[in-house]
């Protein structure tokens, strides 16, 4: 399975997320939400008639535990986030996907190198496993980070 970095304008970011999830929704997926709450994402996806039944949310925006099936992890805790993603990848059987929306948000809370390290860990862990990794990032943010991490992905799409 492949890993893809999608660099897209802020305006088109959500539409791209919707398209990605819609395309991959036949399989279970892990959704790491870094700039919207899981409720907000779920509502958007439901409006687009995209099933969220097989989506596992990691909410990095709110810390309030409202549902037992959602993990809340602070974006500052990259180790914990990495561990949670790895555990989901291991525990979900068969083909699956991972969406990171949006990667550059991590730069608000972490050093650029730490974020790069985090990306490296995730892509390395996912390679060779039945998981499709899609990381999205707005065009305008974290250009230096993007320069550092694009090598970790199999594909980089600029839209």
């Amino acid at each position: 399975m492949a890993s893809t970095l999608i660099i897209i304008s802020v305006e088109n970011l959500q539409k791209e997320v919707n398209d990605v999830v819609k395309t991959l929704s036949a399989n279970p997926g892990i959704y790491v939400s870094l700039n919207k709450t899981h409720e907000s994402i779920e509502n958007i996806l439901k409006k687009e008639k995209i099933s969220t039944n097989k989506l596992f949310f990691i909410d990095c925006v709110t810390s309030e535990q409202k549902r037992n099936d959602v993990l809340h992890i602070s974006p500052r805790e990259l180790d914990k986030l990495s561990s949670a993603i790895s555990t989901f990848i291991k525990d979900i059987p068969g083909k699956k996907f991972l969406v990171i929306d949006a990667l550059s948000t991590l730069l608000i809370y972490n050093d650029e190198n730490k974020v790069a390290q985090f990306v490296k860990e995730i892509t390395e862990f996912a390679s060779g496993k039945e998981v499709e990794v899609i990381a999205l990032s707005p065009k305008t943010k974290g250009e230096e980070l993007l320069n550092k991490i694009f090598n970790f992905f199999d594909k980089v799409k600029k839209k």
Binding site: P28, N53, K54, F56, N68, D69, L71, K80, S83, A84, T87, F88, D91, I92, P93
Partner: protein, 203 residues
């Protein structure tokens, strides 16, 4: 009459003889008594000795000076007598660390102060100082006092620093381990939660 007179003279002579013998006996007795008294002087200690350590010196640091007050009392012979003084500082196992000798002249009483340099390499702990006076044909009198050898304050400060640093390091390790164990426990909890979420959603 003549016989009576002779008997009288004889009685006087006998009496005189007896009295002279008695006097001599008495004189001998007096001499013996004097001799006995002299023997007693030789057999019993006629010097008394006291040694005291001032309160300030009851704890002496390694390499410092111990001060002791010595008091000698001449109970026997009159006049000036030269005596040999032996000082010994011994640890609890009776092992001497300092031995000092000197001759002291005493008339009726002598009070003096003696100092002893405590070796740097001595063991710390309880010690005793023994003061012994040797006089007239090896007769002795002795006294003792206790004190303690302690580490110098600078050494103590060093020790406190070392122990303090060790305590801080141990505390830091404990805090680190406690944080680390909390992280590990949190991770295990999170993994169990993920397992449960996946199980619920995907059956």
């Amino acid at each position: 009459m003549k016989t009576r007179g002779n008997l009288f003279i004889l009685t006087i002579l006998v009496f005189t003889l007896l009295s002279s013998v008695a006097s001599a006996e008495l004189l001998n007795l007096k001499t013996e008594s004097k001799n006995y008294s002299k023997e007693q002087v030789e057999n019993n200690s006629f010097f008394d000795i006291f040694i005291t350590i001032p309160q300030n010196y009851e704890k002496v640091e390694l390499g410092a000076e111990l001060l002791a007050n010595v008091k000698l009392i001449n109970l026997g012979s009159s006049g000036r007598v030269d005596v040999l003084m032996v000082y010994e500082i011994k640890d609890v196992d009776d092992k001497p660390i300092i031995t000092k000798k000197e001759t002291v002249a005493v008339e009726t009483q002598a009070n003096f102060v003696r100092t002893f340099d405590i070796p740097q390499d001595a063991e710390t702990g309880a010690y005793k100082i023994y003061a012994k006076i040797i006089y007239a044909d090896g007769k002795e009198a002795a006294a003792e006092a206790s004190f303690e050898i302690v580490k110098p304050s600078s050494q103590k400060t060093k020790d406190y620093l070392i122990y303090g640093s060790l305590a801080v390091i141990i505390l830091a390790i404990l805090i680190y381990l406690s944080i680390k164990s909390k992280v590990i426990i949190d991770r295990i909890k999170m993994k169990l939660q993920i397992r449960s979420i996946v199980k619920k959603k995907l059956g």
